[in-house]
């Protein structure tokens, strides 16, 4: 396995025409309505700024000027290292230290590029910022690194979508994402991930080992992770929040769907350090085929985290009798005034619901898709609108062939 490869076509494209048509086709197939052509052509008022990463090197960065007007920096991390060294130096590695885990260390050693976002004090980012990743070099690992800094009283919503062409051999993706929210700042980070999960026999597919961590460093700050995970052969991913500032809030909304021979192990950590910090976890897992789907989460209240609050709801749905659904929460209270509530359920889609839908003319797959979409609704509604509609379609596609 090669650790990373820089794209062979060296000069970075400066316009959309130069972007690999396969990348654009992949965006289409992914079905996420970027409408980037229209946006770039000025047909529509831009509402999404795109920073596409292809094989770890940023190839398209748009809307920088409009963002620059309000002082927002949105660029590749390699550019940030050159142009905004002081910010990068101050924050990079401050949330996820180099030595955090094997994959974080690997990433730190070899990372090539990724995105950098800086929202200045008091600025509400006027559009959703977005990065799309694609892995298209054979046998490569992908090691992008993302850093988002939200200064006092600022807000940003960041969308990440990922896709990869079909490859026989497994590929490694070991990204690191760091979020820093200062006083009263809010960062909303949404991911839709449908990387290649391998073929029907479980051959090939992406190994997705991502370290994502947000630091609610300032009082009253808020970080919310929303993820829809439908891809990859193996996923280990635990977007986490360190609730350091008093009254800070962390949220994790997750849909994880596994089919075929996929193995998903995902969840979150909510580390309550500050006073009156609160967190909320809604995780919906759907296992089909021969897959294993695990929620693994940690909620902990430090001795000084007076008045910490957590609510967790983990629900798993099993489709078929060859898959597994597992729930592994670690709930650690070290403060008497902390109040933690955790609930989890595992069941299958009810026969009665299936029969009812079918009696109305929906075939088995359509009925499953409809019921599953209802099951994940509490999470879906936290996605930005354009992700929400497409995620519903993605869920239906992911479960194709799961009803026997």
């Amino acid at each position: 396995m090669y650790f990373y490869a820089a794209p062979k076509s060296t000069p970075a494209p400066t316009s959309l025409d130069e972007v690999d048509p396969e990348l654009l086709a992949m965006y289409d197939k992914l079905g996420i309505p970027l409408k980037e052509r229209e946006i770039l052509a000025g047909v529509e008022r831009p509402n999404v700024a795109v920073d596409a990463v292809m094989d770890s090197v940023s190839v398209v960065t748009t809307f920088r000027e409009e963002l620059a007007k309000v002082g927002i920096i949105f660029c590749s991390i390699s550019e940030a290292i050159r142009e905004h060294a002081e910010l990068v130096q101050k924050y990079l590695g401050s949330v996820v230290p180099v030595t955090d885990n094997y994959y974080a260390t690997l990433n730190s050693a070899v990372f090539t590029d990724g995105s950098f976002v800086y929202i200045p004090k008091g600025v509400r980012c006027p559009m959703e910022l977005s990065t799309y990743f694609r892995i298209n070099e054979k046998k490569t690992g992908q090691f992008e690194r993302t850093l988002i800094i939200a200064e006092d009283d600022s807000y940003v919503s960041y969308l990440e979508g990922c896709t990869a062409p079909m490859r026989d051999e497994s590929q490694l993706h070991a990204a690191v994402v760091e979020l820093v929210a200062l006083e009263n700042a809010e960062i909303k980070y949404s991911t839709v991930q449908n990387w290649y999960p391998g073929d029907k026999d479980g051959k090939g597919g992406i190994y997705n080992f991502v370290t994502k961590r947000g630091d609610c460093r300032g009082d009253n700050s808020k970080i919310s992770w929303t993820q829809v995970e439908t891809g990859s052969a193996i996923t280990w991913k635990y977007p986490s929040c360190i609730l350091r500032g008093d009254n800070s809030r962390g949220e994790f909304y997750s849909i994880a769907i596994s089919n075929g021979y996929q193995q998903v192990d995902s969840g979150t950590k909510m580390i309550h350090l500050g006073k009156n910090t609160s967190s909320r976890i809604i995780a919906k897992g759907i296992a089909a085929g021969f897959s294993d789907n695990t929620y693994r989460g940690q909620v902990s209240a430090h001795a000084k985290a007076k008045g910490a609050r957590n609510f967790t709801q983990c629900d798993s749905l099993l489709i078929g009798d060859k898959c597994g659904a597992h729930t592994v929460p670690y709930i650690e209270s070290r403060n008497a005034t902390a109040v933690f509530e955790h609930e989890a359920t595992t069941s299958k889609i009810s026969d009665d619901q299936m029969f009812y839908c079918q009696q109305r003319g929906l075939d088995g797959e359509a009925a499953v898709a409809l019921i599953v979409n209802g099951f994940v609704r509490d999470v879906l509604q936290h996605l930005p609108m354009e992700f929400m509609v497409e995620s519903q379609k993605l869920i239906a596609i992911s479960l194709e062939g799961s009803v026997g």
Binding site: A303, L318, I319, T327, I331, A336, E341, T346, S347, K348
Partner: protein, 407 residues
């Protein structure tokens, strides 16, 4: 993919003593294994919150012997008593109808990949052996005591409840307050359509390290109710391993972790629904006072073909001190689809509205606190129908409430 260290572990004094004791007991294989792995640390999943390597500082010498003159720490009128003193079974006087008492060589547990089970199997020389037939009226009390100077002992009991039988078995652990290490095992096979209540109460002295493994196998249509209470010891861990082996069986698993200052008390539960159409409910409560650590790890496993399993687990924690820790890991591991499984875990302090309500009726603050804590804890005893037994267990809670105030 994870990097695994091949370096041999550095052994501490407790580990070295255990290795020597295993060798002396003639179990070279286990000694060698412990020599390679050491005691489990927090990196071993089932010991995540009870790092034995750190917590077990020293192991006293293995001691056999000692008839005990003292009384058991818990008495229930009319119970038929059997004694295991320092690991040695002393089958009692004339057994009541339907009870066959004996001893057998070796330990009682089946092979379970766990260090405490392996230690018990290697070190327990004789098991108390009980066969219960028909409906056994008196409560059977196994009084396990560790007396004298600090000792390491392993005790074991094997209980068969025949098809259609019914019995209530109470096990109590007590003795002197020296720094004993006790490793207890109970294996209970519940026959077809048999009904069993099994209660264990740890009332060991405050220097004691208490380990217990309760293993259950449920045959078709069996009904089992268990209740484990931790109300003593410095370090205690009760492992509950239950396996549903026959359809239509039902298990209720309860636990009460009364954790006071300086204590580390751990319940680790593994309920395995191995066949279709079985149900279980798990209800564990923990209360923490002083600087203490209460641990609950509960796992429900539903095997691939165990359709129509219904299993619900609940852990409720109550923290009475800022230095108390309550750690909970409820797990579901589900491989069958037509199931209804769930768990809940809550943790918090006494409810302010409840306190206000009681105080508005003139009840003083300390009394209101005691009342709410007692109410919280006693719910677990509600299903115990035998009045004498229920009262005796209520007294355990009351004693703890009084004693805990002094801690």
């Amino acid at each position: 993919m994870m990097l695994k260290s091949k370096m041999p572990v550095r052994l501490n004094a407790a580990e070295e003593t255990l290795i020597a004791q295993l060798r002396d007991a003639g179990d070279g294989a286990q000694a060698e294994r412990l020599n390679v792995t050491g005691l489990p640390t927090r990196r071993v999943e089932s010991y995540h919150y009870t790092d034995l390597k750190m917590l077990l500082k020293a192991v006293p010498p293995l001691v056999e012997a000692a008839n005990s003159a003292s009384a058991p720490a818990l008495r229930v009128a009319g119970a038929y008593q059997l004694l295991i003193a320092n690991g040695v079974p002393h089958p009692g006087t004339t057994a009541p109808a339907g009870v066959i008492v004996g001893t057998s060589d070796g330990a009682a547990l089946s092979a379970h990949d766990d260090v405490l089970v392996r230690l018990n199997s290697a070190l327990a020389k004789k098991s108390l052996s009980l066969t219960l037939e028909g409906s056994v009226d008196p409560i059977i009390q196994i009084d396990r005591r560790t007396e004298g100077a600090a000792a390491h002992s392993a005790s074991s009991a094997r209980i068969f409840v025949a098809d259609n039988g019914s019995a209530t078995i109470l096990e109590t652990y007590s003795g002197s307050s020296e720094a004993h290490v006790t490793n207890n095992a109970s294996y209970i096979a519940v026959g077809r359509n048999a009904t069993v209540t099994h209660i264990t109460v740890d009332l060991s002295g405050d220097g004691v390290t208490h380990f217990a493994t309760n293993e259950y196998v449920l045959a078709e249509g069996a009904k089992l109710r268990t209740l484990a209470i931790h109300a003593g010891s410095a370090l205690a861990r009760t492992q509950i391993f239950a396996r549903f082996a026959g359809e239509g069986a039902h298990g209720d698993f309860g636990g009460l972790n009364l954790v006071g200052d300086g204590q580390h008390l751990d319940f680790t539960l593994d309920v395995n629904h191995g066949v279709p159409n079985t149900t279980s409910q798990e209800m564990f409560k923990q209360v923490g006072r002083g600087r203490s650590k209460g641990v609950f790890q509960g796992k429900i496993v539903v095997a691939r073909d165990a359709q129509k399993t219904d299993a619900k687990m609940m852990m409720q924690g109550l923290m009475l001190s800022d230095q108390a820790e309550i750690l909970s890991k409820p797990e579901l591991e589900i491989y069958a689809d037509d199931v209804v499984c769930g768990h809940g875990s809550t943790c918090g302090e006494l409810d302010a509205d409840s306190m206000f309500y009681l105080m508005s009726r003139g009840i003083s603050k300390p009394e209101a606190e005691t009342m709410l804590v007692r109410g919280f804890l006693e719910e677990v005893l509600d299903p115990i129908e035998d009045d004498e037994l229920n009262e005796a267990l209520t007294a355990v809670i009351d004693d703890w409430l009084v004693g805990a105030k002094q801690r």
